[in-house]
């Protein structure tokens, strides 16, 4: 029996009349798991909000019909709508940091829904909340009940969120990118919990995601959206294994895959070599004492050869970003040494090392000065190339921009560009001085799938062309698999395993590495990618 039927839905921006969702139809049966797949701007979130009748300000539904559990939402009064929200349809949001009210205790937020929708006593409410907290594997439900959201990590908050929604046993659960902000391991845990709970309560799930791996792992059916329009729908298997539409194919192909083993093996002396590196963040300075510090990197040994790509993987808090920053001497180290071309650069401000090393940032929005034009941004590193004339410099900038596919855009401002284009600018800025060593800190994780693929490809090509060594920091194992020569796995500030790419991916030794690989969402169909769920 159909739980939700959406017919010819059309949503427009209130101001301009631009369609955000245009003629979208789909249905969800009871107990079914539907994935709605799309990149940014596909209208997938707007469509989901429309089901709740909670479109954000600035958007309005202008056409189509939504029937939820036999109720046509267009005719439902707001009181009727409120009665539906909660017991009939619940929603889990993307950003765990802002989806719980910081001013109200966890228990009160969970109880709020129960109090509104069910006539049960206080103690019964509390009992059910505690049960649910235990169900989502919160360690200390009693303490959690009275605690405030800010005391929990992102993964824990997402569990609390899930618990508070599932408490009402909704018939439909809408999950809007529920794990995008979490690291791979946590992502897996939360999603497994969600699916388990949904199964227990017979809840249908509408999962909104851009991650095809999740689709293949959890969803029975999938719907692909692009710029507000439906591209394709069908069973997950059919869509992923045999996409009919070009766009769907493009999405599937954009999944990173292992390249041929390159010949970029470490040979001779390493370009950058790190021994026993330690980074500790000082505690807060109090009036008379200093709080105990946190050790973020704790005794790391690492060699990177010229032209080699070494990937650092690990969950959040593993110290991988700190390692990258420390190796570029952007944050002070508290122990160990860094050598560049055999020279100790740990404590001295070495100009040669500074000019020969570069960094590509994760967030393309904050890494470009909004008050500078692209040409100026890319030209800035060339200030420190002394013998360059103005004409030569301009030529090099223009050539570099062309190299990253932004020819002729030197006069543009960063805010005029898309995320992918910005990341290209950031890469151009890093490469223009032809560095020997580049640290790329999650360079693609903020980008859409198809864009990720393009940027990774660009990065590979540039590396081949300019021959710089690269420390590639990522939690996305798929991307790592595509670009890395060697892989270093970090946990708790230490390296737990390192080896060649094929060794790590095919023959992981350490439990943590195995867990990471197991959690990585990959397509488990024959054809495009190989499932590597370890036993």
């Amino acid at each position: 029996m159909t739980l939700l039927a959406v017919d010819n839905l059309r949503i427009e921006a209130a101001s301009g009349g631009t369609a955000v969702v245009d003629d979208v139809s789909f249905a969800i049966e009871r107990g079914e798991f539907l994935a709605v797949v799309g990149e940014s701007g596909s209208g997938k979130t707007a469509a989901a909000r429309a089901v709740l009748g909670l479109l954000p300000p600035g958007l309005r539904k202008v056409g189509g019909r939504i029937v939820l559990d036999g109720v046509d939402l267009a005719t439902a009064a707001s009181r009727r709508m409120r009665a539906l929200r909660g017991p009939t349809v619940g929603m889990v949001f993307q950003e765990p940091m802002v989806s719980l009210n910081p001013a109200i205790s966890v228990g009160a937020q969970m109880a709020e829904g129960l109090r509104l929708h069910e006539r049960i006593g206080k103690s019964e409410i509390k009992r059910r909340c505690l049960d649910m907290l235990a169900r989502v594997q919160i360690r200390d439900p009693d303490r959690t009940y009275d605690a405030y959201p800010h005391e929990f990590s992102g993964g824990m908050r997402q569990r609390i969120m899930l618990a508070s929604v599932m408490l009402l046993k909704p018939k439909l659960l809408i999950a809007d990118e529920p794990t995008t902000a979490l690291d791979t391991l946590t992502q897996r845990e939360v999603l497994d919990l969600m699916v388990g709970l949904a199964r227990d309560h017979g809840t249908s799930v509408m999962l909104i995601t851009h991650n095809l791996g999740l689709v293949s792992r959890y969803a029975q059916r999938a719907l692909v959206l692009r710029q507000g329009r439906m591209v394709e729908s069908g069973t997950s298997r059919q869509i992923l294994a045999a996409p009919r539409e070009a766009y769907t194919r493009q999405l599937v192909e954009a999944l990173p895959r292992r390249g041929a083993a390159t010949g970029r093996r470490q040979s001779g002396d390493p370009l950058v070599s790190v021994r026993g590196l330690k980074v500790a963040f000082a505690g807060r300075q109090r009036l008379f004492r200093r709080d105990a510090g946190v050790s973020a990197v704790n005794g790391v040994d690492l060699d990177i050869g010229a032209g080699e790509t070494v990937a650092v993987v690990g969950g959040s808090g593993s110290g991988k970003t700190t390692l990258g920053r420390a190796m570029l001497r952007l944050i002070p180290t508290s122990g160990g040494e860094i050598r560049f071309r055999g020279k100790d650069v740990t404590t001295t401000a070495d100009r040669e090392f500074r000019l020969a090393s570069q960094l590509v940032f994760q967030d393309p929005y904050s890494s470009l000065d909004p008050r500078m034009r692209l040409g100026e941004i890319v030209a800035e590193p060339l200030r420190h190339v002394p013998e360059l004339t103005v004409g030569e410099r301009d030529r090099r900038v223009e050539a570099m921009l062309e190299e990253v596919g932004l020819a002729g855009l030197a006069r543009r401002w960063p805010h005029e560009l898309s995320g992918g284009q910005r990341q290209r600018v950031a890469i151009a800025r890093a490469i223009v001085r032809q560095p020997a060593f580049v640290v790329a800190d999650e360079p693609v994780s903020a980008l859409d799938m198809t864009i990720q693929a393009q940027v990774l490809k660009l990065f590979e090509r540039l590396q081949a062309q300019y021959g710089f060594a690269c420390l590639f920091i990522s939690h996305d194992l798929a991307a790592v698999e595509q670009v890395a020569d060697r892989v270093v796995v970090m946990q708790g500030g230490q390296i737990v395993e390192q080896g060649s790419r094929d060794d790590i991916f095919d023959r992981p030794q350490h439990d943590y590495t195995k867990a990471l690989l197991a959690a990585a969402p990959v397509l488990d169909f024959a054809g495009t990618a190989v499932a590597r769920v370890s036993g």
């Binding site: 570029l328 960094l359 940032f361 890494s367 470009l368 000065d369 008050r371 200030r383 420190h384 800025r429």
Partner: protein, 270 residues
Amino acid sequence: MRLRANTAIGGALVTLLLGTAITAMFWTPFDPLRINLRARLQPPSSLYWLGTDEFGRDVLSRVMVGAGASVVISLLTVLLAVAAGMAIGCAAGYIRGWTDRIIMAVNDALLAFPGILLALAVMIVVGANKVGLILALGLAYIPSVVRVVRGTVLSIREKEYIEASRVIGNSEAYSMIRHVMPNAIAPVAVLTTSMFGWVLLAESALSFLGLGVPPPAPTWGNMLAASRPFMETAAWLSIAPGLCIALTLLGVNLLGDSLRDRLDPRMAHG
């Protein structure tokens, strides 16, 4: 682009203000300084549109000339406060360490005084004239600017493009001038518009407390202050300059809002 209501109204009011100020440079109905003891405290009439004051001077002419004086004083004051505040705030926010601590300690100490009283005291020290007024009010508002600028600089410092600049090999001073300052200008611009309003208010408040721009040159503030004893007998004396101040402030505030909306579109309305 859609013309926003606040941009339109604010722009119109400010244009009116500037137009009046410029017109007054060349023409006013009467000499704003000419005393006519035979026509004292005349209510508004066809001859004197806004009436005359206790010395028989034409209120309309004085309001017109006062527009220019008020604008110039407010602009220069804001300029002084923003320029000094920017420099100090940037230094504190970027150098940090002891410099920052000392600057902020002094700044906090200054902030602990009500600005208007600080200005009053400074005004007595340097003398009640236009320069003194600009100096006094400028000084009184520098701490607020320093505070905003420092906060902004501290948040910009954490932006990745500053780190990028460091990675490139740029010196701290270069990063400061090339990357931090330009990006700190936007929030300061918003502050500037509201400060313009504060200064206009403070100028009139100072006059009210007995120390403003010296007569006979009219400013709205000293006109308003002088009107107080005639509240009951000649209300038009206080209504004209008061309304001018209120309308100008409204215009400036609305323009400030539209500027802020442009920087932070989420706050937009209408």
